[in-house]
Amino acid sequence: MDSQEQIMSDSLVRIFENVVLTEEKSLQAGYFSDLSIAEMHTLTAIGPYQSRTMTKTAEDLGITTGTLTVAIDRLVKKGYVIRQRDTKDKRVVRISLTRNGKLACRMNSKFHRVLAKRILEGYSEEDREHLLKLVGEIDTYVEQQLRKYDNTSNIRKTATEVARTSKKETPSNG
């Protein structure tokens, strides 16, 4: 019989791989089959609303601006991204999503939401809360391990991390 550590370790790796694989398969089978997973994640980092700078987007993705430039070149050619010079500072390049880019981004976020919804709906409310608490703790722990290897601000911020930070910044006393 496998040890608890072995089961946990295997499950973590398998969940990660299978989520990415499922995402990839659903992309290939859907309307956006010309996009790779990495490209889809780049679109998600840019987001469906305001334009963003190349520097900030590269930071969020944890890649260099050089690597991002190559990815953006491809996404511009495919019609998902628009690249423009900042109107005030010509040295700054801003990127935003085309209508097709926005559609791909929103469809991908729907994929993740549906996956989470399907997983959660199999549990009672009490179990759901417990599960979310445990998953949150795993998320925090793994994030801390990542920080050990990268102490700069160039760490990809997850949605939960952003939420946690904004909560801390809200004055609680008074």
């Binding site: 309307y31 469906p48 926005k102 559609l103 929103r106 469809m107 976020s109 729907k110």
Partner: protein
């Protein structure tokens, strides 16, 4: 009360809602190539209209751009009918 009287008692909020309703009908009829007269406020988006999720997001993006608003997926979870979309836009604008 006749029609003219009831129209004169419309509040600004009612008029705004009417305008949004007309805009939504126009956008849906154009994008789905359906006659505006076939679209009523209680139409269910999932069962009465031939929307798939891509078309739903097409419509959402069009509405977001038209009204300069952000419609979250959480908001969309509660949208079932044309009336719900109109209420949502009125709330967000």
């Amino acid at each position: 009360m006749d029609d003219a009287d009831s129209r004169s008692t419309l509040t600004d909020e009612d008029k705004r809602r009417e305008k949004v309703f007309d805009d939504v009908i126009k956008l849906i009829s154009e994008s789905m190539e359906i006659s505006p007269t076939e679209i009523t406020s209680d139409l269910n988006l999932n069962t009465d209209l031939p929307f798939d999720s891509l078309q739903l997001y097409e419509m959402v993006i069009t509405l977001e751009e038209a009204y300069d608003i952000r419609i979250s997926d959480e908001d969309l979870d509660n949208v079932r009918s044309i009336d719900d979309i109109v209420d949502l836009i009125v709330r967000l604008t």
